[in-house]
């Protein structure tokens, strides 16, 4: 019974991943015949780490910012869940409001926000904003930045990226909130009562009793947050034109998809960098997971 899914998984995930690694050492224009593929050694890597280093490190930095940002969002989601779990008035209403963005795909969120919220000429944000209009979609100038000696374009947070972060938070908070709500409902009421009888204040009860009992959820949330940040693509692809933010996901597709798809090796090299990042995280998770189950 497990064999069929495993075979499918290997066929659909691991074989293509291996092929990506092979293609990253090749030059191919994505047109038949296959015999035209030329082995170019590490040239693609040489290019992306030297000539295109501004794109690559900029994207890596942005993925790093996303990890931190989504972690913050996860904490906010947990707070919302904790508050809503107290059965305050209108709890259902708030739940629906926060959860609503989750049922939309991030690409949809991106398109909605591009025209309704961020558009310089007709977006809601610029209608409400008292100052001059801001081009959230196209403004790649940095709000703050810092220079690294070995890297040419300064790293930093652009207006476009800040706008993206808001849109991602809008969805991620609701997502995490729902997971924690489910977890909190499962926390044994007796634990809370015991904590109250022992004279815990609210923070102590949360910190020492409730939060540790949520451990399975916490692990899942950490995994989801990290993976969302590393694989971020859809909303960024929808909102980063024409002068916005690149993450690893968009760099891969830029050379692999569309009419400019004549650089398969190039896109594959970006893909391999991304794969290595994800692998690092997966290995950490698997090791942790097995250690847990041995206990």
């Amino acid at each position: 019974m497990v064999g069929v899914p495993a075979a499918l998984h290997i066929g659909l995930v691991w074989i293509p991943a291996t092929l990506t690694v092979i293609l990253s050492f090749a030059e191919w224009d994505n047109l038949a015949p296959l015999s035209d593929i030329r082995d170019v050694g590490f040239r693609n890597y040489w290019f992306i780490f030297t000539v295109f280093e501004g794109d690559l490190f900029g994207a890596l930095f942005n993925n790093f910012v996303l990890i931190i940002w989504l972690t913050v969002c996860s904490a906010v989601g947990m707070l919302f869940a904790y508050l809503l779990d107290k059965n305050i008035r209108g709890s259902r209403f708030y739940q629906s409001v926060y959860y609503f963005p989750v049922v939309l795909s991030l690409a949809v969120v991106g398109f909605i926000w591009k025209s309704t919220m961020f558009s310089r000429d007709r977006g809601l944000l610029n209608t409400l904003w008292p100052g001059g209009p801001i081009d959230f979609v196209g403004d790649g100038t940095k709000i703050f930045s810092f220079d690294l000696p070995f890297l040419d374009p300064a790293l930093g947070l652009s207006k476009n990226f800040a706008a993206l972060l808001v849109a991602m938070a809008w969805r991620h908070i609701g997502y995490i909130m729902v997971m924690y709500l489910a977890g909190l409902k499962a926390v044994d009421q007796a634990l809370r009562e015991a904590a109250a009888i022992d004279g815990c204040n609210e923070w102590q009860a949360f910190r020492r009793v409730i939060f540790p009992s949520l451990k399975p959820i916490n692990v899942i949330v950490v995994v989801i947050t990290a993976i969302e940040a590393l694989r971020a693509y859809d909303i960024i692809a929808a909102l980063n034109e024409p002068r916005g933010t690149d993450v690893m996901g968009t760099l891969v597709t830029k050379s692999l998809l569309g009419e400019g798809s004549g650089r398969v090796g190039f896109g594959s090299a970006y893909g391999v960098v991304m794969l290595l990042l994800c692998l690092g995280f997966i290995i950490w998770y698997v090791i942790n997971h097995y250690r847990e189950s041995e206990l």
Binding site: G54, D121, D139, G258, E259, G260
Partner: protein
Amino acid sequence: MTNTSNRLQSLRDSSVSRRNFVIGSGAAAVGGAALLAACGDDETAPAATTTAAAPATTAAAETGVGTTTLGSNYSDANPKAALAAAVAATGVDTEINTIDHNTYQDNFNTYVQQPDDVMAWFAGYRMRAFASKGVVGDISDVWDNLDGMSGAFRSASSGLDGNQYFVPLYFYPWAVHYRKSLFADNGYDIPANWDEFKALCDTMEADGLIPLCAANDGRWPQMGMFDMLNLRINGYDFHVSLMGGREDWEDARVQNVFSTWEEILPYYQPDANGRTWQDAANNLGDKSAGMYLLGTFVVSNFDREAQADIIDDIDFFLFPEVNPEHGQDAIEAPIDGFMMAAEPANEAGAKALLTGLGSVEAIDAYLSVDPAVVAANSNADTSGYNALQRKSAEAVATASYIAQFLDRDTDPDFAANVVGVGIADFLATPGSIGTILADIEAKKQTFTFE
């Protein structure tokens, strides 16, 4: 994203007013979802098949070449109907497989390996790249039977080996558009050279107008400005050589293009990068802006009935002379047409269809349904042309050189991911053009320009 034919075909995106969007976030979200669903419909219907009825009396039907397949990216309603009419006029029994134009172009590399007999495509580098790789068929013998195609169209249809791989259907020129009534009311004259152009911009600014509409969403609209300035300052030969990867982007001639460009940036609509061409066109329409360099498809932003007065009021003039050595001798006029598969299932039918599509009858039929473009065939019936079409035809006929467009004249990856990014960066921070050009030149070295 750099797909130039989006300009012609995705036209009505901007017709949603601001008011629709600020009536509350829930409603806005639903509105957006509906918009997206509308897009989705377009994309998830990849193979809407229409069969053009072949009149039984025509020559091709009599020769009995059988059914031919035609892959088409004419997915918007007007062009789709027009193409069906054009195909019907050829008399070749044809099955048209229409695919959403974005999907079609993004997947063309894969599609071209197992294509229909005949495929809709673009002239220039975009065609030559496939011709030199041998994935499309040589149709030089079709050209022997074509009548009314000028030498300029023949060379735009030729591969690097001198054979023909493409049959042009229509084109649309790029020029500076303006509203006649605005110019008449304010007493503006058409600028003939760069100084007059800048002086006009100054006057418009003093009159409280935005002198130049500016959009760059999708990263292609400002490629037009780069091309025009480069053609005017350095001439057509340099354009070809630069696009072919044979010139240094840090060359003084390229720097000159950008420093000249910088002179008119103060007259630009602010924040061009995030604006769609449709939004900018609305500013031309409501007379809040004076001039707009774009393809003639700009008129298709306006509703043919409700805004007919605006469409009738839009005129264009050729981009002014900058360097007297080159005058106004070059024009950008992207050409759309058809290629044949390398190994078509029905070669006789494919060639009959291509011959037919290159004929006067086909383009006449096309234009009778969708009069937004200009016929490539010089024998086409121009009596039905509106003023703008007539002027477009004349402008292209009198030009010594016809360029395609930046993303049609060079490696599409280089155009989209290197030059397009550089131009967008330049618009945001003109002062850093030195670094931008150095970056373009360094990245150019990684392309082969085969």
